[in-house]
């Protein structure tokens, strides 16, 4: 079966600084795959390259067989990207924002309507969707943006730090939304520096530190391999090797 995402020997330089040293991993359709590692590890850099907004310095990235450099336009039709700490247009209402994004993806009004409906259901914001986004809390904005990310039925969703800065209740809510959205076949590439939450959310994880992927596996498999009780301890063990 064709992989949703195939990253092979990917390198990225910012000037002379090499942020990614030849990383490789694959994500299957319907799988939730997480990059875990501390700040500055290169997670956002990887996600931006997959989202076609940064160019690789060397190596290849294929999304459903399409190359991020040659087929960027076609890839953009089937992916959806939610940046870390993203905001939305403060002068638009929640519905206004969803409408704007739906119109960007679909030309058929019926399809647009379906997208907006799906997103509104996932947000759970109800009447507040008619208020300006400037009046939303951080959790509400994140929920709105996450709903926008999955409303177009992307074949690959790229989500950077889905719950950073959110309180526990909002974080659990977001995690559940990601889980249920991936249930109908959407592949997810996400990143987090919160290794505990990733255990509950992801099918497989890659441990990344200072631009290098040290190991890849299921949370359960990694814990057994290194004989640790949680991923945080696994991470410390792996990175110290």
């Amino acid at each position: 079966m064709e992989q949703a995402l195939r990253v092979a020997n990917l390198k990225k330089n910012y000037g002379k600084f090499e942020a990614l040293h030849s990383i490789s991993f694959e994500v299957a359709p319907g799988e939730i795959f997480a990059l875990i590692g501390p700040n500055g590890a290169g997670k956002t850099t990887t996600l931006r390259i997959v989202a076609t907004i940064l160019q690789p310095t060397s190596g290849t990235v294929h999304v459903y067989g399409m190359d991020v450099q040659k087929d960027a336009a076609r890839i953009r039709e089937i992916i959806s990207y939610l940046p870390e700490e993203a905001g939305a247009y403060k002068n638009l209402t929640g519905v206004g924002y969803l409408t704007f994004m739906a119109e960007l993806f679909a030309s058929d009004p019926a399809v647009q309507h379906e997208y907006i409906q799906r997103a509104s259901d996932i947000t759970g914001l109800g009447e507040r969707l008619n208020d300006k986004i400037g009046t939303y809390s951080k959790g509400m904005t994140r929920k709105l943006l996450l709903s926008r990310t999955v409303m177009t039925h992307p074949k690959l969703a790229i989500i950077d730090e889905p719950t950073s800065g959110l309180d526990v209740v909002a974080a659990i809510d977001i995690r559940e939304s990601i889980r249920s959205a991936s249930a109908d076949g959407m592949a997810v590439l996400l990143s987090s520096h919160n290794m505990l939450e990733i255990e509950y959310l992801s099918d497989r994880v890659a441990i990344i530190d200072r631009g290098t992927i040290h190991d890849i596996g299921t949370p359960q498999g990694l814990k057994e391999k290194y004989r640790k009780s949680n991923l945080e301890e696994v991470f410390v063990e792996v990175v110290q090797q």
Binding site: R48, I53, E84, E103, L104, S107
Partner: protein
């Protein structure tokens, strides 16, 4: 195209908020209001001026003088009794601001052909600019009286000679020529009207360029700060459509505000030039005849020049906005552009481009924003080549800057490039954080 329109709609909705519209509306209202106020003040000036005459002479001559003042638009109140102090006191109470005292023995002195003296008192109670110029009118009173006495002397010394001929044996008809056209007109009033037209455009243009540049740079920097730009860049919108939609939206806002400013300014300027209730038919006919009005061709050229100037400013602002990391740094990024707009604005106001030194002249020509400022002057002077050359130059610059902007947006520079003054990478160094380029500032 469809996605371009979706983005354009969103940009307009973002830009046309009360925060952005309020300053425009305010400027428009303030200027029209100022114009109205100045107009009514000037009308007040044209109404008969009250003057109090204290006549201690009680003679035919002194009474005739009072009559003369009536004819030159004074509303005269005469006292023949009491002291000067009383008269001033009463004049003050009547809200009159001028008192003229004709001393006893005035007629006798005139008949003896001796120079006479009257005293005038000006009551100052209003220290506004318009209020204080009121005192000048006493000169009009004095010269009317002198003329009356002078006429009397001429009549008695040379009967049969018309005093008007003695006063003004030579009169003139004045003509103004522009290019090959000639019209009979007063050069002062022609100059006044032309100045009015050529001054409004630079002021409005400067305001609009500053407004539009800030708007688009803030829009891009704001999207970078909010990460909404990253989201947009990962959607199927063409990068070119993204940039052009932003430029079109701020261009539309610029044109709307230009129209608003124009309305406000015209009323204000009109009042400054003393253009109460339209120019007189004689002057406006002369203006027509001299070709000092914009015909369709003139308007098209001026419009193109202004449009090109705004487009150059917008394309530069896109690049500056891309360098800014957040909204706060936009003002700093855009400051150099503001200087470049202000320089030709001031220069074209205070320097005659035709007589200044060649170095300065070419410097002014090199700045793209000089051309819209100069266009009106050149169109009036029928120097169309200069106007068209300016427009072509501006469009070339626009194409250059717009392609740089498009390149920035179509590569990852839009996300990675920033002027790093905080010295995140190396202390004391300026770095444009992208592959290959890094400038080091020596300490």
């Amino acid at each position: 195209m469809r996605r371009f329109l979706v983005i354009l709609k969103k940009e307009l909705r973002e830009m046309l908020t009360w925060q952005t519209l309020m300053p425009i509306i305010l400027v428009m209202v303030i200027y029209s209001f100022l114009g109205q106020v100045i107009n009514t003040e000037q009308k007040k000036q044209a109404a008969p001026q009250p003057i109090t005459v204290v006549d201690f002479d009680h003679t035919a001559t002194s009474q005739a003088l009072t009559g003369t003042l009536d004819k030159v638009n004074f509303k005269v109140t005469t006292y023949t009794e009491g002291t000067v102090e009383d008269a001033v006191h009463r004049a003050n109470a009547d809200n009159s601001s001028a008192v003229l005292v004709v001393p006893q023995g005035f007629e006798r002195g005139i008949l003896a052909h001796k120079p006479q003296e009257v005293q005038t008192y000006t009551i100052m109670r209003n220290f506004s600019l318009v209020g204080m110029t009121g005192s000048v009118n006493l000169d009009a009173a004095l010269s009317a009286m002198n003329q009356y006495i002078g006429d009397q002397y001429i009549r008695s010394a040379a009967p049969g000679l018309d005093p008007a001929v003695v006063r003004q044996a030579i009169s003139r008809r004045s003509f103004v020529t522009v290019g090959t056209r000639v019209a009979e007109a007063d050069p002062q009033s022609i100059a006044g009207i032309v100045t009015q037209q050529t001054m409004v455009i630079p002021i409005v243009l400067m305001l609009v360029i500053i407004l539009a540049s800030q708007m688009i740079a803030a829009s891009i920097a704001g999207e970078k700060e909010n990460k909404t730009l990253e989201t947009l860049l990962s959607t199927p919108v063409a990068r070119g459509a993204l940039v052009t939609a932003k430029m079109t939206a701020s261009g539309i806002v610029a044109l709307v505000s230009a129209a608003a400013y124009m309305v406000g300014m015209k009323s204000y300027m009109g009042s400054l030039i003393g253009d109460t209730g339209g120019t007189s038919t004689g002057v406006s006919q002369a203006i027509q005849k001299l070709g000092l009005v914009f015909n369709a061709q003139g308007y098209v050229l001026l419009g193109l020049s202004v449009f090109a100037g705004i487009m150059v400013a917008l394309s530069i602002s896109v690049i500056l906005g891309a360098f800014a990391e957040d909204l706060k740094s936009v003002q700093v990024m855009i400051a150099p552009l503001m200087m470049v707009v202000l320089v030709p604005y001031l220069m074209t106001m205070f320097i005659d481009i035709n007589t200044t030194s060649p170095v300065l002249r070419w410097l002014i020509y090199a700045i793209p924003f000089s051309h819209p400022f100069l266009a009106a002057q050149y169109i009036f002077a029928h120097n169309f080549i200069a106007v068209i050359a300016g427009i072509v130059y501006q469009f070339i610059l626009f194409v250059v800057f717009a392609s740089i902007a498009a390149r920035i947006f179509s590569t990852d520079r839009i996300l990675t490039m920033k002027l790093n003054t905080a010295g995140r990478m190396r202390r004391g160094s300026w770095t444009i954080g992208r592959e290959g380029i890094s400038f080091r500032r020596r300490k």
